[in-house]
Amino acid sequence: MAEPLHALTALGHAAPKTVTIGAVSIIERFDVALASLAIRKGREAEVRALAAKAGLPLPDPARFAAGPSFSAFWVAPDMWFVEADHSTHEDIAGALKPLFGDAASITEQTDAWVRFDLRAEDLQGLLERLSNVDFARAADGFASRTVIEHIGCYLIRHGAGSVTLYGPRSSAASLLHALEVTAHSIA
């Protein structure tokens, strides 16, 4: 068997990138696998039971929840994005499908997205210049789709100074640029 294909990050590098501007750190993450999980018609109870068994949380709308093996955030009625460690779940959809059988529709999403983790003492100043999410009033675990400089993203609040952004992979450079100029603007 030939040498495995090498992977490139969404920004086009072999390794993920971290940028620090003023108090804000923008950390590209390349180690998270992602899949969508949607409940098939009439199979909710079954899916919830199977998820519980698998250690996969199915949080309420606009929420993120971490679990023992998987974390997940709500994206649409009856649909979640499920996160797992890429090193153990490179084929996350392949791992999830057997757990849910035909009760759920599962689709690989890992490389549809670029993930940036944002860190600062308080990210309010940055985010209020980027997103219409009411970040100050959002509770930890809040997860929502939002638009940042015309780019549709998912924003997850882990804390006042800790946020995860998922943006479309193809626009990774544009999204990073938006984050950088805004960080400079408040630096």
Binding site: P61, P77, S144, R145, V147
Partner: protein, 94 residues
């Protein structure tokens, strides 16, 4: 504008894509209805100055189609429902 999403609460209307009159839910069955019925369905509108039930899609959100009851003169929004629920209530199935 702000649309009070039945699941997500208030969201900026900018996140949505507008389609039009919610009467579009009532699509005739193509195997039984003819051109005239489809013409009336697709092309003719009440277009009221006042309360209007209309379809909005939360494209930059949770992808729900909503039925928003909105006053077209004041832009006041009176009611917001999931289009799927409205469609089911109207007897739409598969």
């Amino acid at each position: 504008m702000i649309i009070n999403h039945p699941i997500l609460g208030p969201r900026d209307a900018q996140e949505f894509v507008y389609l039009g009159d919610a009467a579009l839910i009532n699509r005739p069955d193509g195997m039984t209805a003819g051109i005239e019925a489809f013409h009336d369905y697709l092309y003719v509108r009440d277009n009221p100055a006042g309360e209007h039930r209309e379809l909005w899609y939360h494209e930059q959100g949770d992808r729900s189609w909503l039925v928003v009851t909105r006053n077209t003169v004041t832009h006041e929004i009176i009611k917001v429902e999931l289009a799927r629920d409205v469609a089911k209530a109207a007897g739409r199935t598969k």
